[in-house]
Symmetry: D5
């Protein structure tokens, strides 16, 4: 599977989880199969829908845990995000304090820098605090 | 978290709840992270979806309690509404008598005055009276 | 609550229900709060979504009972329909024989004549007869 | 189909619906196939579950319409209730004023008198009044 | 109810069901109330949504039964389809062998020929064969 | 409807809502129709299931609003609770501070004192605080 | 797979469907694996839950189609019912006229005669006629 | 049924399943009934919605099984895909290692080559790995 | 509210969250209102149902995050668990490595030691790993 | 985590999946924490609920793929089944031909032999074939 031969996370025996601060360096990409002419003679447009229901971080003012489902949609150009590296990246928010709007904005910007996609959106479906859920969305278009 | 350093409600030890009349002065804002160039180099557009399922006020003609889920969506320009201050603001309708349409209109106008957003909508999903639910929506666009 | 001071149905001690034929004269309106400049300085556009799951009339050919949820959506101009008067109006179909399409058409026309709205739709979600539900919709636009 | 040859309601061309008061005389029965030894050599025990989501009557004090799903379960002895006659019987409550508990009690007693079943229950799942649904159940056992 | 005085199916005492082949001659229409100026002074546009969850036919190659929910949406011009005649028409596919795509295409064409509607769609939600459901849709527009 | 002739709440033109403290004196009862031999010759056992999704009170330590669905089940002996008086009684908790377990215990004890039922249970399905819902239940049996 | 070597229906190239009357002769059985000591040294008790959502027959008085989900549960002794033969057997009711209670009773008795099970139940979840679903159940125990 | 007379898969007694690698040669087509003028005088536009919830392949790097629901939508021009041949084709991925994005891209390209449709989309709803589902979509338009 | 006057967590301005290891010392109790004769003259039996959907810990062998909903049911004797202290206690598993069965067993034992309840159960509804959710339950009875 | 120190599957870098035949030798166990007196001084009874929605095998007569959710419940005595080894064991049915009843019986017997539990049940929720799902259950009790 030549497209993935440089990936480090997937299939590795020992994974070092880092939990202290968001680390965009954990993200990895691979060449999009939609961008390979021999694999896609019909020139079909590819898109990805990704749901991460196990996101957690901390409230920056009270230190209490926050929980969310992070939903990502994008149209790749040359690159796709690798699945296990995305898991590690989202896990790196675990002990980090940040407001909902800032986390969603950060995830969007880190993925745009990695992938240079045609478009990409990130929605954070946070569970309620004080009985009220806040769900920020960040939408990038070239 | 410099963006939030002037907030009074969040994390405060003692909160004084006021229940007698809607008080827009309870609302607080903070600078939108989507509007900070260093935090958002991709210039992603931010939006917010907020659900408040625990809204209650009184019927102005009979005095009986009314219940609703208030749903707010908006695109911030420079400011976002702070979550705990929104809870206090919505709680201030508790002993106030007002028709469904007027409450939804009031919440929309109070948030527009606070945030000067790009657009903002408020929907009130009131529980049925006489077997019939009335759900008003107010839509603001610049 | 000056906007409602002429209403007869709401809060009245004794209500005379009439069940023999649809009576548009039962409908009452009140001034829309969205149309009051002092109440709506942001000029937000107001709309209403109303569900009436307890509608019943008779089949005009067999006399058997028919049941439906009537769903109304509209954008008021100067006037809103009052909730209890709408309940009485819909109740007045109880012993009346009329086909599904005609009832939905009638409710739409009666509300348009009362409210002169910007737009208004009525959908009748009738329960199945012979295993088949028929759901007519009437859409009015100025 | 000899078991049903005396039935009047089913398949009749013209049905006279009566809506003014509950009329147990509308109910009809037919011999239970579970009680015919040639049809049931295994001596299987038969039971029936019946749901009537289109029940409506009036409030005896205010005259306003009430709505319910009536759920009936029973184990027949010699007789089963015929389906169309049950529809006509429940329809006869349409313009009758009666409290929820009394209607459920009446339906239970009328069916027990007709069928002399081994056991029979009637539950009335009434839609809310004042935001509160009341669901009475009557349980008969020999 | 002058609009329906020529109907044969509805309310008739004895109905002759025919099950051997699709028979468009079973379909009947009546004048649309939306097209009567005195009934519709607001000139509301009428549409119909119809679901038929009890459709069954046979596989033309194996003879095994197929099952579907047929969903019909249309905007009538001068005529509406009568509900009981539609039931009889759909029942006439019962012992007929035809592929999914062809049945949906046939129902669409038969209804267009009967009603001359502004637009009309038919969707067949067939239950799975080999673990895979096939749902054809036919869309007619003038 | 002689069973209800002493009721004060139901159908009264003007209702005085009291919101400051739980007031068992607001509760009213009426004779159970299941206990009238002429109405219940089959001696069916009656039970009631009641859901009150619009309950709200205050937290006794922070003053913040709490919300719950109160679910009541009971088997009446001689008396049933009247529906509108139950609504007024539950509304009287609106500005009262009390822990979840104590409110549920109080409602159970007040209803047992009023009705002397065969058995009665009260469950409070409170919405989450700190992401965690607490649902107390009180079960009374003679 | 020696347990199944006498089966005729499964895997056969051409299946002759018969639709005119219920034919218990279509049913086939195979030895229960739970009854083979070498396959079940732990002496686990086996049971089967089977749902047949595509059952249809005719009303014996009007000829109109009836539809049901047939649900079968049983504890085999020496024999299990083969799946394709059960499909053919249930298909043989297609053009047969029979009341709901009688069909359910017949299916139960035919399966008991075939399998001599420890216990077996059949429930028929028929779709509504006249807005009312009737669901008979037959329960056999040795 | 002349349209299907060249089909090999449907109704064949013995089917040879191949599981080792995706084989586009398994796919078969038949002439679209929507493209036959005599069958479609109204010139209705036909579309197909197909769901394949039983798709499974292997991870190319770890060899572990992956599972998905494959959802296909298309507008045929002259040809439709035959249902049993599609099942065999999707089954041929069973022991094949391929990433999610590549499989969806492959299915889309194989169907476009077979059918030359007006448009066609393939979505793969893969079950989560590491708590995160990845759902690629490929969209072809002429 | 004398029953709660010794509580430390609830209403405190600054809460110190500890995340490194499960700390039973964080748990607090208060006297059960069901055990106070003046508050519970009917001697109703009290029980509690508690859901904690935001539980997270680490896998002790791989270090990857695990997520669960913890569900607790118990019948208090003299003491109830205080809600905010329970939140802090469950939060203290955040950076701790422990298998599912051991965590559930630990929570059950810690609560039994604190409350000496009549009975108490803990269920851990963990999200899937490798596509398979494991849900351990611990049941204590005196 | 001394209880797990002999496990081979969990956390291993390279896993060899075997797909040709069910292999009970792949199953591993670890000592139940409920059976360790120091970890469980309250002597709570532990049980496990496990769902495996990604099970697939082949039909032994036609070779077509079968799919199921396997649901396992048990009360461990001294041993629990390790989660990754269970995944590998269930994966080993992938290319094996076996009837539904026999697979469920086999899984139950293999787990009983491994764990010697107090009780254990296995249910196979197979997807429909011919429109009919068959769900066998095997129940072991000491
Ligand atoms: Ca991927
Ligand atoms: Ca909540
Ligand atoms: Ca916020
Ligand atoms: Ca209103
Ligand atoms: Ca129905
Ligand atoms: Ca019947
Ligand atoms: Ca309601
Ligand atoms: Ca019609
Ligand atoms: Ca009552
Ligand atoms: Ca929550
Ligand atoms: Ca079988
Ligand atoms: Ca097809
Ligand atoms: Ca508590
Ligand atoms: Ca999952
Ligand atoms: Ca485990
Ligand atoms: Ca299916």
């Amino acid at each position: 599977m030549a497209l993935h031969e440089n990936l480090k996370s997937l299939g590795a025996g020992a994974t070092a989880y880092r939990y202290d601060r968001p680390d965009a360096g954990l993200l990895e990409s691979f060449p999009s199969p939609f961008a390979q002419p021999d694999m896609n003679p019909a020139k079909a447009v590819g898109t990805l829908h990704i749901e991460c229901p196990e996101f957690t971080c901390l409230c920056p003012m009270t230190g209490q845990p926050d929980f969310a489902k992070i939903v990502i949609d994008y149209q790749p150009d040359r690159l796709c995000v690798e699945s296990k590296s995305l898991k590690l990246y989202l896990g790196s928010f675990r002990m980090h304090g940040e407001f909902h709007e800032a986390s969603v904005n950060r995830i969007c910007n880190d993925l745009v820098a990695l992938l240079e996609p045609v478009w990409l959106t990130v929605r954070g479906e946070f569970t309620p605090r004080g009985g009220i859920p806040f769900w920020p969305t960040a939408e990038y278009r070239r």
